[in-house]
């Protein structure tokens, strides 16, 4: 059943929705209020990345660099070298996409605690098309030493992640999405960098779904629906859902515990299957407790224009796709 500290209306059709990036904007403002060393830099996307909330309140601590993401990353490194806590924001495709080497060298190799927020990640950006749909960002950030990678599931968690990131002394990548998505967590839901949270728990799980980002809502719906019916004898399939908001460092203890308990794992992410969160989970399980897995994500393709739901359907990231994957993985146990 649903974790008691989550939004209990999560399965209602009128569940409140908000863009994840909005939580980032509010978190950045809160971090700026809490610590005068926090500065924000943006590359000509201030409002759409929600950095404008900070920029309006603290204009003297806001730097607009123009369409120059490589400069964005390295300028932030220089500011961090002088004691600042810089947050840099653009679309994920451009930062950490276009400026990956500057992030690797001037931020991570240099050990400067710059926080990188990549908005409009995933294919749910929709009509803008494949150029703007970052589905490789977690893969390219999690391979860099020292980098922490966080992919919040909703705006409430994004705010907590942003506030928490400001207090770390490492580089952090925070993955954000553009579209409104259901709010699953509440003020009471625990959030700690590096800790996975069990969102849906059953007595004798046959499968655990490990999910990250907004698709966690679809994972919850799938688990909920499977629990009610669909088993071979007409009974439900018991499925747990683990929300993995920190991709790196990976909460190996939680993943191993759930994999041992259920004996089968599905990973769900709005990202390339190759190199993403599912790969990180597979690396962990292959080493500690080899477990049959199925991967929900983009299968080595670029995105395209369309409505969010059309694209999720086309690329196989729906509630139905998750349910089918659950049944497939059970057959492999």
């Amino acid at each position: 059943m649903l974790n008691s500290n989550l939004n209990q209306k999560v399965f209602d059709t009128d569940v409140e929705q908000q863009p994840i990036r909005k939580g980032y904007g509010e978190g950045l403002l809160a971090a700026g209020e809490a610590d005068s060393q926090v500065v924000a830099l943006c590359a000509d996307l201030t409002e759409s990345t929600q950095t404008h909330l900070f920029a309006k309140k603290f204009p003297e601590r806001f730097i607009e660099v123009g369409v120059a993401e490589q400069n964005l990353a390295s300028v932030a490194s220089g500011m961090a070298a002088m004691g600042k806590i810089p947050f840099i924001t653009s679309y994920a495709m451009f930062s950490p996409g276009r400026n990956w080497e500057q992030i690797r060298t001037t931020i991570c190799y240099n050990n400067q605690p710059v926080k990188i927020a990549g908005s409009h990640a995933g294919i749910s950006v929709g009509p803008d098309g494949g150029t703007h749909q970052a589905v490789e960002d977690m893969a390219i950030t999690r391979v860099i030493p020292r980098m922490v990678v966080i992919s919040p599931c909703d705006s409430v968690e994004a705010k907590k992640a942003t506030v928490a990131a400001a207090k770390t002394d490492t580089p952090v990548y925070i993955r954000l999405a553009r579209e409104k998505t259901p709010i699953m967590t509440t003020e009471e839901t625990p959030f700690e960098i590096g800790k996975a949270e069990l969102f849906y728990e059953t007595k004798k799980p046959e499968v655990v779904i490990i999910s990250t980002g907004a698709l966690t809502h679809k994972a919850l719906v799938a688990a909920h629906e499977l629990g009610q019916a669909g088993g071979s004898n007409g009974a439900g399939i018991q499925v747990n859902v683990l929300n993995l908001s920190t991709i790196k460092p990976l909460d190996e203890a939680a993943i191993i515990k759930q994999a041992k308990l259920a004996g089968a794992v599905i990973t769900v992410e709005e990202h390339q299957i190759r190199g993403g969160m599912g790969s990180a989970v597979a690396e962990c399980l292959a080493k500690h407790v080899p477990t049959p897995m199925e991967f929900i994500g983009v299968d080595d393709q670029f995105g395209q224009s369309g409505k969010t739901d059309e694209l999720l359907e086309h690329y196989g990231m729906t509630v139905e796709a998750i349910k089918k994957a659950v049944k497939r993985v059970i057959e492999r146990k």
Partner: protein
Amino acid sequence: MPEITDKEIKTLEIKANEIRQSIITMLLEAGSGHTAGPLGMADVFTALFFHILNHNPKRPDWADRDRVVLSNGHICPVLYATMAHAGYFPMEELQTLRKFGSRLQGHPHREYLTMLETSSGPLASGLSQAVGMALADKIDNGVESHKTIYALLSDGEHDSGQIWEAAMLAGKNRLRNLIAIVDRNNIQIDGFTEDIMPLEPLADKWRAWNWHVQEIDGHNMEEIIDAVGKAKAVFEKPSVIIARTIPGKGVPDFERKFEWHGKPPNKEEAAMALNALRTLGGKIRSEHE
């Protein structure tokens, strides 16, 4: 920055000559590395570390120190040699350049040598980092700031758009606490800069980015020191000093040859180079006497 006497200029020239000898010795021991750029920039580094900088080698983490950001990290032999001569670390350590476990990594890495301001190697990121430092200093100290951030750039890295991005941002924010010094030696790995990707009119590019521009002889101590003094007197703009240098300067057989960009001298070449440098050093000394 104090006024400089003829005697002090000669002292700096002798120091630069000694640093050049250290560069040859360390490159020979390392067996790999860059020769032309470090020799070419020895005079600028000497002027900075022995006359211009507000720094304390015994307290490298002193918060109010001037910052030196070396963007073209591959010329680090000159940075390491100058720092050792200035007392940042023991001279013997220079012989560990590029070796396993050394603080003197092939390209500067501040995880290993913590007194470095930045790690560098991949070109064209240093100016951005210096701009970030200058912006942070401006936020903290405004016009009261007495710090100067020095960005040392190569000419070849101006091929990269990131230099343009950083230069525009500095111009926009009128970073008077920022001085860029460009090593205008006209060579890069594949050949002469004007053949690979013409940079001229280079000074006009910087003017267009709203910088105060000076062009000097990068081997003339008095011109280097005078240019930095003038740059500090500019209050409404960042400043760039385009220092015309001769790659391989001090060793006639190496001078102006782009082949010496990325290789070290062998034993015979090093002996010849040291001989040439010692002869030059003796000449500077005798002129002084």
